[in-house]
């Protein structure tokens, strides 16, 4: 901690306090929601109406605007989880473990959506909903990693133990992801026997809406994480005095914000 600059140190410290986060995050949420909705409105319009139909794939190409962002986020979430695990283990920071726990189901959900949209996309493009393609396969393995993490964490009743054990798993998993990805890719290029319509460069007219959609999903992801983290805090700090006060106060301030 000493090596941190003063402001960074303070930030770190504050983020480590459930109370601080719980109180501040209420104020962030409305802004995040606004930007998220705006990005989605813009992105969806752009991608569903204003972008061209793919000459090969027709309208099914529009699945891409969900598929690709969820694919990106599924991996970002795992990385974030592993980072939280390291911070939690090294600095014994409870808050970091809570974030780790909050990230897991969200990451798993994005992975599932990516797999699902990918499969859906596969039916018109490849004529089958599943191919043992490198990216798809490693996404599947990623899903298994998430499920393993969740299964492990929820098999404990003692939170301290659950956090520590699951953190170790998250870190081990994170070290393995590049290895898994590399191996799957290598394996796949070895068996190139079957036909996948290989893709060319992306049309810039598709690229811009794609970027917007990625941004929109990013913000959505952050919102979901904050909401889950708040739930996690409520769960774990249920006995803390500040939270009991906060729940009373929180309703008032919410009512004020909405009205």
């Amino acid at each position: 901690m000493a090596s941190f600059s003063k402001t960074a140190g303070r930030w770190f410290h504050q983020l480590g306090s459930p109370k601080w986060f719980y109180q501040k995050s209420v104020k962030w949420l409305p802004w995040l929601w606004i930007s998220c909705l705006a990005l989605f409105a813009f992105g969806l319009y752009y991608s569903l109406w204003a972008s061209p139909v793919d000459y090969q794939q027709g309208n099914s190409v529009r699945i891409m605007y969900i598929h690709v962002p969820t694919a990106v986020l599924s991996m970002v979430a795992y990385l974030a989880m592993a980072v939280c695990a390291v911070i939690g283990m090294v600095w014994k920071m409870k808050m970091s473990f809570m974030a780790m726990r909050a990230l897991a189901p969200i990451g798993a959900a994005f992975t599932l959506i990516c797999l699902f949209t990918g499969s859906l996309w596969g039916i018109p493009t490849w004529g089958t909903w599943w191919e043992w393609d490198a990216r798809m396969t490693s996404e599947l393995v990623l899903l298994f990693l998430y499920l393993g993490f969740i299964a492990l964490h929820s098999s404990f009743s003692d939170r301290t133990k659950a956090d520590n054990a699951a953190a170790i798993l998250a870190i081990v998993g994170a070290i393995n992801i590049p290895i898994i990805y590399g191996s799957v890719k290598w394996w796949n290029t070895l068996h190139q026997a079957y036909s996948v319509t290989k893709k060319g460069a992306i049309d810039p007219q598709m690229q811009t809406p794609l970027f917007i959609m990625i941004a929109a999903f990013y913000v959505l992801f952050i919102i979901l994480v904050i909401i889950r983290l708040r739930l996690e805090i409520m769960n774990r700090e249920a006995k803390a005095k500040w939270l009991q006060q906060e729940v009373g106060l929180g309703q008032e301030s919410n009512a004020g914000a909405n009205g």
């Binding site: 393995v141 492990l152 133990k161 659950a162 054990a165 699951a166 170790i168 070290i175 898994i180």
Partner: protein, 226 residues
């Protein structure tokens, strides 16, 4: 200290020698199922041999994990060991014993399975090639990694649940790279192409695991008894 611990593990395994045999049995049964279940044709069997032997080995290792960890955890021996020795020593002794008792016999028995799966089959007239040593080498490099990774998973799940499938769910995804490179060593040998790269990668993964996992397993064991 390591040797004392190792001796203890081996003695316990000898006591439970039948339990130790189960994974081996399982290995043989799973592999020999395929000629019945799939097709007894030598050419076909030869093609799937690599994969089948590897997956069976992997499952056998998985099955045997429980024996080496759960008992010690339940009766409190594990915490005594962790008091008297460092977690890394405990982890290493367990992994070593596990490999000596499960992994090594798998490697040694694999030629039998190579025969069953017609690994060395050559279409009539062709000169017969012997792929068995390559297969053994790949298993020799792969099984220790499986034991090392399995140890992490097992130690993590000890305090959580008695469900043997929890370990599998956590650890099997991590086995994917070993499985891919391991079986492709054999496939490459069958195709008469080079397999040095895969062997090197398997060895690298093993080294990597050897360096990193004992510490992690030790940590996980500490969490389990806390």
């Amino acid at each position: 200290m390591f040797l004392t611990l190792l001796k203890r593990e081996l003695m316990l395994a000898r006591r439970n020698w039948v339990a130790v045999l189960i994974p081996l049995f399982f290995f043989v049964i799973v592999v020999s199922l395929f000629p019945f279940a799939v097709s007894p044709e030598a050419e076909f069997l030869q093609q799937i041999a690599a994969g089948v032997v590897w997956v069976a080995a992997l499952l056998a290792v998985l099955l045997s994990l429980d024996l080496f960890y759960r008992g010690d955890f339940q009766d409190g021996s594990l915490e005594q060991l962790l008091i008297m020795a460092s977690p890394i020593q405990v982890a290493l002794s367990k992994v070593t014993a596990h490999w000596l008792v499960t992994g090594l016999p798998l490697v040694l028995i694999s030629p039998l399975l190579a025969g069953l799966m017609h690994l060395n089959y050559a279409p009539n007239g062709a000169v017969e090639m012997n792929h068995t040593p390559i297969m053994m080498l790949s298993l020799l490099l792969g099984t220790p990694t499986m034991c090392l990774l399995g140890a992490i998973g097992m130690s993590l799940s000890l305090a959580a649940s008695r469900n043997g499938m929890l370990v599998a769910v956590m650890i099997l995804p991590l086995y994917v790279p070993i499985l891919i490179f391991g079986s492709s060593v054999i496939t490459a040998s069958l195709a008469n192409s080079g397999y040095n790269a895969q062997i090197a990668i398997l060895a690298a993964i093993l080294l990597f695991a050897l360096v990193l996992t004992p510490y992690t397993t030790g940590k996980a064991l500490k969490v389990a008894v806390s």
